[in-house]
């Protein structure tokens, strides 16, 4: 029964993505452009202030590393905020009544909800994604944070972390659709929890399939690499090709599908809703008349 709902979620989202692809593609390219430009601009400012920045890298390494981390963090915040604006586009398609959206519409959602999108991204993905990516524990500097995946215990811990990340995502992801509908950050968190509680099977099966298609192959690939531990010479080219193709699929299909799926789930699961912005305006205008 829930599998039918999940199949429907994917079928409808895919259909809507195909008919509104230009808007979704447009905001993604804009987000990537904004990310790259921000990083370049901040490095340019640094270079203008201190032309020897590049040459004093070794002596000022710690400051330089901190500066890079901050720049990339700012860039990523901008990137994820614009990516989350796709849920606004999905709201246009599914809930505004017009059944279509335009690229420029994303900027109106950015203006209204940018800080809420950032907070939700931190809440939803900050922990989950870093665990799922599995990269953080094995970065130089964090050598033994998690056991390496070449031991059974390491594999077990990585799988448990993956499942926790997935559940965490399922619990909070519906906030993104709720924000566009009713506008309040706190209420969006509560609504997301209510949706999960109202129909956990549908939420888990839809996001489970999503993870299976757009997340798990990368995780599995990383796990296999961790176990086999091949030399970079042998695996570098294959890894590069895999990650490039997979990243393109995730960015240009997975992320818009994510926005449409989250909005579809929000609209289709019966739960106790807070009044939407539109309902509040109607109520207020009704009272004043």
């Amino acid at each position: 029964m829930e599998m039918n709902g999940t199949r429907r979620d994917f079928r409808e989202s895919w259909k809507l993505l195909k008919s509104n692809y230009r808007a979704f593609l447009g905001i993604e390219l804009f987000a990537i452009g904004a990310f790259l430009l921000t990083i370049l601009a901040l490095f340019a400012i640094q270079f203008a202030l201190d032309p020897n920045f590049v040459f004093t890298f070794s002596s000022g390494m710690i400051q330089s590393m901190h500066y890079r981390v901050v720049i990339i963090a700012i860039g990523f915040m901008l990137l994820t905020t614009f990516i989350n604006c796709q849920t606004g586009l999905a709201y246009d398609v599914m809930s505004s009544g017009e059944m279509f959206t335009e690229f420029r519409s994303a900027f109106s959602y950015f203006r209204q909800h940018w800080w809420k999108y950032i907070l939700i991204t931190f809440l939803m993905g900050g922990l989950g994604l870093s665990i799922n990516a599995g990269g953080l524990p094995r970065q130089p500097g964090f050598p033994d944070y998690f056991p390496s995946p070449d031991t059974p215990l390491g594999i077990f811990i990585m799988l448990v972390a993956f499942v926790i990340g997935f559940l965490w995502h399922c619990l909070f992801v519906q906030s993104l659709a709720s924000i566009n509908a009713q506008g309040s950050f706190i209420r969006s968190i509560r609504e997301s929890y209510r949706i999960f509680r109202a129909n956990p099977k549908r939420v888990l099966s839809t996001w489970g399939l999503y993870y299976l298609i757009f997340f798990f192959p990368s995780f599995l690939f990383e796990l296999i690499l961790g176990i086999l531990n091949p030399s970079l010479e042998e695996s570098g080219f294959i890894m590069g090709i895999f990650f490039l193709i997979y990243a393109l699929i995730v960015i240009f299909i997975g992320l818009p599908m994510h926005a449409l799926l989250v909005t579809g789930l929000y609209n289709n699961i019966e739960f106790q809703r807070f009044p939407t912005k539109v309902e509040l305006v109607r109520k207020q205008s009704g009272e004043t008349e």
Partner: protein, 107 residues
């Protein structure tokens, strides 16, 4: 694109049998090729933007802008707001009259 906060007043059936246009400004709007095409369809039946796109092959954004302008001048209204079986909200538009005549006198 924001959801219209006042659809109930626009969905009331204010359709009449005949509408005579005398204002040159409104006449000019009606005679615009795309608007005329859209209005002609909506005289006979209510349609949503996707239906209009399928029939006219005009970009939905352009259709929306044309509809907004027609609504602004009282030529079109939102006849119904329905939900699909996947809970997708759909606005249906209709012309405000069964017939629209243009009357314009020089001098």
């Amino acid at each position: 694109m924001e959801e219209d906060p006042n659809p109930p007043s626009q969905t009331t059936n204010n359709r009449r049998d005949k509408l005579v246009l005398t204002d040159p400004k409104v006449i000019r709007i009606v005679l615009h090729e795309q608007k005329l095409q859209i209005l002609n369809i909506l005289l006979h039946d209510m349609k949503n933007i996707q239906d209009l796109r399928d029939i006219t092959q005009i970009n939905p954004g352009t259709i929306k802008r044309n509809l907004d302008e027609l609504m602004e001048h009282g030529l079109v209204y939102i006849a119904a707001i329905k939900k699909s079986d996947y809970n997708i909200t759909m606005k249906y538009y209709r012309a405000t009259a069964n017939h629209i005549d243009i009357s314009f006198n020089l001098g």
